[in-house]
């Protein structure tokens, strides 16, 4: 059984989350900032009548949060039956990966990523970081 991961780019790194957890990918939409929210919260967005929390994944991964001029994508994932929107640089393809290529995260990985990255798929020309989506959506 090959692993299917929905991939996305963030700061030139390739990440992947279990495709079954991904509901949809959209362009960023008008959203409402939440004063006093942790900086990992980008705001709230109206997703077809549902109020959905928007998580700034860059901030979550210990980078600078997105600015007003950035145009990130929204990757809507399912957390405990509720949609959560993760902001990423760009959404990529769904990849089928050989479980044999999966290994633990390299010790060289930045500390801010160690917590959220469950492991690494070695692909021909790059590494795919597998993200713990439940942890990533926790703000």
């Amino acid at each position: 059984m090959r692993h299917q991961l929905a991939t996305f780019k963030l700061d030139d790194r390739l990440y992947g989350v279990d495709v079954a957890r991904v509901q949809e990918a959209l362009k960023i939409q008008a959203h409402t900032p939440v004063p006093h929210a942790p900086r990992t919260v980008a705001g709230l967005v109206n997703l077809r009548g549902q109020v959905v929390l928007m998580v700034d994944l860059r901030a979550r991964l210990g980078r600078e949060p997105y600015g007003p001029d950035d145009e990130p994508m929204m990757m809507v994932v399912n957390i405990d039956g509720e949609p959560i929107s993760l902001l990423v640089d760009a959404v990529g393809d769904v990849l089928e990966l050989d479980p044999d290529t999966f290994g633990p995260p390299p010790p060289t990985l930045e500390e801010s990523l160690q917590e959220l990255v469950t492991g690494v798929y070695s692909m021909e020309d790059e590494l795919l970081l597998s993200l713990d989506v439940d942890l990533a959506a926790q703000v």
């Binding site: 409402t32 939440v34 006093h36 919260v41 109206n46 109020v51 929390l53 926790q138």
Partner: protein, 801 residues
């Protein structure tokens, strides 16, 4: 009688439902005679009807079901086999029960229906241990005949039915006769098959004009094909009660309500859109949609609404019982029984209401002797009143009893260590009454005897708070007490005010909103205490909180043009400064992520007409946040401590109606904090304020005016460098301009003189003395030494920090 009718009605509806199940179960039993589960179910149903009918004093129904129950018990316990005969008599019993219920429903009593024959038949079967075997031979015969005659009955009835359907209820009498008529049938129990046959067969012939009611036994007795059709006609005719009300799962209603909420939001969006498009056709369509959505919303809300009478109908009995047990004479007046409330809300107020009523009689209304003595009529009056007001339901419980004596409450509060004598001293009677709601005020039984009031009032408050309601109490000693509950109509959809602050939109629940004030370009009414703005609203100082500050947004440059939303939260008022008011809108609170809930400022989020997400402010939380926030410090105010020609004076009240004035410039901040922040260190009062231990001096105590403590205290904070001292007063009264000339030099200890503020002599506080009393080295920080350390010792103040 009304209340009784309600119970009977419920009983009838419920029983009809149970009987339907019973019919099916009995029929199923014939094919699956050994089924314990079915038998138990049947037994339970009959048992329930028996129990309730006994309780409601329907003796015929009771005796009928009693015999049936006995028979069923034997069947259930395996003492006898289920046979055709047994099934027949049981079904006959079911039909008789139906008849009785019909009569009860129509007339409120059992009418003249004679159940004796059925009872006798049941008894006969019960008495005949071989009943099962004897009958076994008969069925085939009986079946055929029965089926035929039933078919006839059925046909006949269905003809009749079409004409008579409307008169159904009036036809109970002939129906009763029909059942009553074959009296002798019961006696020859040995030949059950025969006795039944003539009885059924006879009817169409002898009484052709009979009402359809008797057809029910026939149709039900044998599930023959031709009869089945009539049975349906039959049911629609007989069961008007069951038809008019159906039971709906509350979950279904909740889901419906949610959907309607969505529809309301979609409608809002549509209205917005139509307004932008400026297309008359679209506008018309959207208006229609709007109208329908509103009606639908009201309709769905109505399904969840029940008159408050549902809770109140148990009150007369309760009042009667309590008053007779306590030897009181009480007349109960109920006004506004029809006032409707959401089911969930109604459920939630049940206990608090019971509690308040019990309390009103127990501790409010005096004994007849006492009442006569004080010149009141012997009979006390307890009034329950419910009405709608501003989208809320107000429920008042008023008694004309002895009222609540603040003295007694005070004594109790002191005894319970909830307040010190000094604190009580400074409280207004109204504030003292609020002590009743303090947790721990009155849990002990003893309180009932001593204070006479308030057992578990905190529980009442908690419950009402839980549904977003408010409870308060007003009392005039000797004349009575009124408890007032304000309850939201429904929890699902609420009206809200949308406001803008730093280009962001927020929703404020209308429940919290008292009024809106615009600030003009002269800043009329605006004053500053320290750097904190206050608004003079009809003689009261309204603390102002800027929403921008609360939310940590860019500071406001000028107050001009801002709007003050006067809000009510946790028993206090404050003004929330917003940039502008947008609209009032019906909003539906949507759940928000835990991460946002934990911020503690938002009650939820909602979608506005333009589709944007808007946060709903949790006003009590905003008020609390604002308290912390009032620490926007501008240091160095104390530099203005010297008195000039005219200067602004802060006027505070302390106990005994005394007012004190102090130079406003010397005050850094004003705070309202709960008395619980006060602690004692080495005999001196201190509090933890902004992460520092701050010495506190009680002005009233210092000036010998008793002491100025209350549940919430007004703190006048003076700061100098890194030193802070807080002075406690009863209440901030006003800010006035005062000139040197107006001052009289009459003074006492701690005072510099007095001025007249609004016709009231106001003493001028020697602020330096007061501050030094708390912190002897306060002014030393600036080499501004005051040699009053002996005073500090006298007062017993320690060196705070």
């Amino acid at each position: 009688m009304d209340a009784m009718d309600e119970i009977v009605r419920e009983f009838v509806v419920e029983s009809y439902e149970n009987l339907d199940q019973l019919d099916q179960d009995l029929v199923a039993l014939e094919s699956d005679a050994g089924s314990r589960a079915l038998l138990s179910s049947v037994f339970r149903t009959i048992h329930t009807i028996k129990g309730t009918s006994g309780f409601l004093a329907f003796s015929n129904l009771e005796s009928l079901t009693h015999v049936g129950e006995n028979l069923l018990a034997e069947l259930r316990d395996g003492k006898r086999e289920m046979t055709q005969l047994t099934a027949d008599v049981l079904l006959k019993m079911v039909d008789a029960v139906r008849d009785l219920l019909g009569s009860i429903e129509a007339t409120g009593n059992e009418g003249t229906i004679d159940t004796a024959p059925v009872v006798a038949e049941l008894q006969a079967v019960l008495d005949d241990p071989t009943g099962g075997a004897a009958a076994a031979a008969a069925p085939a015969d009986a079946d055929a005949d029965d089926a035929l005659s039933e078919a006839m009955t059925a046909l006949h009835v269905s003809d009749d039915d079409e004409d008579d359907e409307d008169d159904e209820d009036d036809e109970e009498l002939p129906a009763e006769e029909a059942v009553a008529e074959p009296e002798p049938a019961a006696e020859p129990a040995a030949e059950p098959a025969k006795t039944i046959k003539p009885k059924i067969g006879k009817r169409p012939a002898d009484k052709p004009a009979e009402a359809p009611a008797p057809a029910a036994p026939a149709a039900a007795a044998a599930p023959a094909a031709p009869a089945a059709k009539t049975e349906k006609v039959e049911e629609t005719a007989v069961r008007s009660a069951a038809e008019q009300s159906i039971r709906v799962d509350v979950d279904v209603l909740d889901a419906l309500m949610r959907h309607v909420g969505e529809l309301v939001l979609a409608r809002n969006a549509m209205t917005n859109l139509a307004a932008d498009m400026d297309d008359p056709v679209l506008v018309r369509a959207s208006q229609r949609l709007s109208l329908i959505a509103t009606e639908l919303q009201q309709g769905v809300m109505k399904t969840r609404m029940q008159p408050i009478d549902h809770v109140w109908n148990k009150v007369p009995r309760m009042v009667r019982d309590i008053s007779s047990a306590l030897g009181r004479k009480v007349r109960l007046d109920m006004v506004g029984k029809d006032t409707e409330l959401d089911r969930g809300v109604l459920e939630a107020i049940k206990d608090p209401l019971t509690h308040l009523i019990r309390n009103a009689i127990d501790h409010g209304i005096e004994t007849p002797e006492t009442r006569t003595k004080v010149g009141k009529p012997e009979q006390g009056v307890l009034t329950l009143k419910a009405y709608h007001q501003g989208g809320q339901v107000v429920i008042e419980i008023t008694d004309d009893g002895k009222g609540i004596d603040p003295e007694v409450i005070s004594a109790k509060a002191i005894e319970k260590d909830l307040k010190t004598a000094a604190q009580i001293e400074a409280m207004s009677p109204q504030d003292i009454l609020q002590l009743l709601f303090l947790p721990g005020f009155s849990t002990a039984e003893k309180v009932t005897n001593v204070s006479g009031r308030g057992v578990g009032m905190d529980v009442v408050k908690t419950k009402i708070d839980g549904i977003g309601g408010v409870v308060d109490v007003q009392s005039t000693p000797g004349a009575g007490t009124t408890w007032r509950l304000r309850i939201p109509l429904t929890l699902a959809i609420m009206p809200a005010l949308t406001v803008e602050s730093a280009s962001e939109t927020f929703a404020i629940p209308q429940v919290n909103l008292l009024e809106l004030l615009a600030i003009d370009d002269k800043l009329t009414g605006i004053d500053h205490v320290g750097d904190a703005p206050v608004y003079r609203l009809r003689g009261h100082l309204l603390p102002l909180v800027d929403l921008r500050d609360v939310l940590g947004r860019q500071k406001r440059e000028s107050l001009v043009g801002a709007v003050i939303a006067v809000l009510q939260a946790d028993g206090g008022r404050f003004g929330l400064l917003v940039d502008k008011v947008r609209n009032t809108e019906e909003i539906v609170a949507k759940p928000i992520a835990a991460a946002i809930k934990t911020i503690g400022l938002y009650a939820g989020a909602t979608l506005l007409g333009d589709g944007s997400v808007t946060l709903i402010l949790d006003i009590p939380a905003v008020a609390r946040r604002a308290l912390e926030l009032n620490e926007t410090q501008i240091e160095g105010h104390d530099e203005h401590a010297g008195r000039g020609d005219t200067e602004q004076m802060l006027v505070v009240s302390v106990g005994d109606g005394r007012q004190l004035a102090m130079p406003l410039g010397a005050v850094t901040r004003l705070e309202r904090l709960p008395a619980t922040v006060l602690e004692t260190v080495g005999g001196a009062s201190v509090m933890q304020y902004r992460d520092r231990i701050t010495p506190v001096v009680d002005l009233a105590q210092m000036l010998g005016a008793g002491a100025a403590f209350r549940e919430e205290l007004a703190f006048v904070v003076c700061q100098r460098g890194d030193r802070t001292v807080a002075l406690i007063a009863n209440e901030v009264v006003d800010i006035v301009d005062s000139s040197e000339e107006e001052r009289s030099e009459v003074s006492g200890y701690g005072l510099l003189g007095s001025i007249v503020v609004k016709d009231k002599v106001t003493e001028l506080l020697d602020l330096e003395a007061a501050v030094t009393a708390a912190d002897a080295s306060f002014y030393e920080a600036d080499d501004n030494v005051f040699n009053e350390s002996e005073v500090a010792e006298l007062i017993g103040a320690g060196k705070g920090a």
